[in-house]
Symmetry: C2
Subunit: 352 residues, 2 copies
Amino acid sequence: MKKHNFSAGPCILPQEALQQASQAILNFNNDNLSLIEISHRSQPFIDVMDKARSLVKELLEIPEGYSILFLQGGASLEFLMAPLNLMQNEGKAAYTNTGAWAKKAITEANNIGEVIVVGDSSDKNYNYIPKGYQIPNDVDYFHCTSNNTIYGTQMKEFPSCPTLMVCDMSSDIFSRKINVNNFDLIYAGAQKNMGPAGTTLVILKDEILGKTERKIPTMLDYKTHIKKDSMFNTPPVFPIYVSMLNLQWLKDLGGIETIEKINQEKAKILYAEIDRNPLFTGTANKEDRSNMNICFLLKDASKEELFNQLCDDAGINGIKGHRSVGGYRASIYNAMPIDSVKVLIDIMKKIK
Amino acid sequence: MKKHNFSAGPCILPQEALQQASQAILNFNNDNLSLIEISHRSQPFIDVMDKARSLVKELLEIPEGYSILFLQGGASLEFLMAPLNLMQNEGKAAYTNTGAWAKKAITEANNIGEVIVVGDSSDKNYNYIPKGYQIPNDVDYFHCTSNNTIYGTQMKEFPSCPTLMVCDMSSDIFSRKINVNNFDLIYAGAQKNMGPAGTTLVILKDEILGKTERKIPTMLDYKTHIKKDSMFNTPPVFPIYVSMLNLQWLKDLGGIETIEKINQEKAKILYAEIDRNPLFTGTANKEDRSNMNICFLLKDASKEELFNQLCDDAGINGIKGHRSVGGYRASIYNAMPIDSVKVLIDIMKKIK
């Protein structure tokens, strides 16, 4: 039975990418060797790395003066690397607290320097995006999370920023147009719109580095990885390869402009059903609703069993909400076809 | 044409593991979902992680009181994590300097505390393993590298150690019997005898942690990952899965005892040819020769072209030596069949 994979991450990837990845495990590049048993210093893998980088550059229209890195450790390690690389000794940074991941980023930065929380939606279980806050001039950088996977909220606009702009885009990168010029450091764990778990994309403006006197450990220093084109040590070969395939799929589809329209349409029809159907209610503030993670509650608990059963019967996977919100979460990342969203909507219409 | 993959890492993996991995990319666990698109919190992946851990425990006969972790960042990040977790404030540690990776480990530890180099083979381009050194009583730990991939040397015995014993076993773990009781912390990048690039195995005695007053960043604190069974953040799903397949292959083959005999035999016949054949010479001190990475020179440079051509024609891959040693390096990890070693030996016999 065909599955409709609404998992929050790791999550759905295009079938074309999965087919090619499966083949490359057996025989990559027609060399009769597996992708995962060749040297990362061999030309076939250097070509993969180069292509992955150039696809990121092209899809996001990254200007000159930025480096593109494929690292390890997920956004969780970036929570540490960002302050280590950008905060002065006894420095400070401004953060928005918009969810569980933002909170972890704050905790980590707080151990390096001082964090000023300039916007905070924890008072309402993170169901909205704080706005209208002032970012102080005298901080080393400002940090925000563009999309909050657990709570289904998304920044529709980014504040004007008098300091370095740092953004965790783990769950909505490549899903919509962004102006990279407005950011100094962007990072994203791969396992949503970019690829499988195991690599982290980092995009950063080169000139922001080297301004702190802090001694940064080698592996946590962005300069280490820039100098060696993300090959200071053995890179996570397979996750980078599948990311490359996935980005090629996105390019072939028409790039960010095309996928953004598709993503908007998918989200629009699903939110429309949530708003129309008296059995359901969305959990996020309407104007801050995420186009990636759509969180909703079934108001009548007695109907949960039926709804879950119908979802199961239809092959719907990974729709259970995070325990801190409850209810349901439909993650509809780039690779999610609109037809799968319609399958879910049909079930929502069906239960009475 | 069948390839004989002598790459130093990433390197050869068993065909059975590659076949299963390829299939899991398309349809894992008969769920009609790819392994790389399911949640790492789903039972099928938790089962993978549990199985990988229990195979490590069984194969290495790891006693109670040790934790087994699958992390990211390779041995390079462990070079930092080991001193961060084990060194006291203003503490010191003893290291052996036996190669390029040992040297990097020393550099990193030196930024955290004081390093005392107790054994050093850099005077002879690391072609031997230092012995007879004394490990001071008053250091926080002793660190060594069991096998030096680039230089083809291997510790045949480990010194008696009056302090914590830390070992980087990246390139020979699972290749021979070790007594885990004699070690407090073992780490290994996966991409040799364990699996594909992208995960790091860490085995550590729980009681050694929590003894430093240093504030350790969350992601670099072993306790973080022990508490969450290596799932504090999204783990590198695919590299862990393939590691599990590879360890299952090793278990089915008969475990460490069996593979150690096979590895000894492979190394023995190749070194025998190097010693017999007047055209070749080994680069490592005989008593310290690695059973994993066999480094040798072709004495007559005019025959290089022919030798390279014969190797190419036979499907031999990845045999070029590291630039810091030159010549050739045949890496004959666990998955390398003895028949492939014989193909190489036949070529060595052939050239005159």
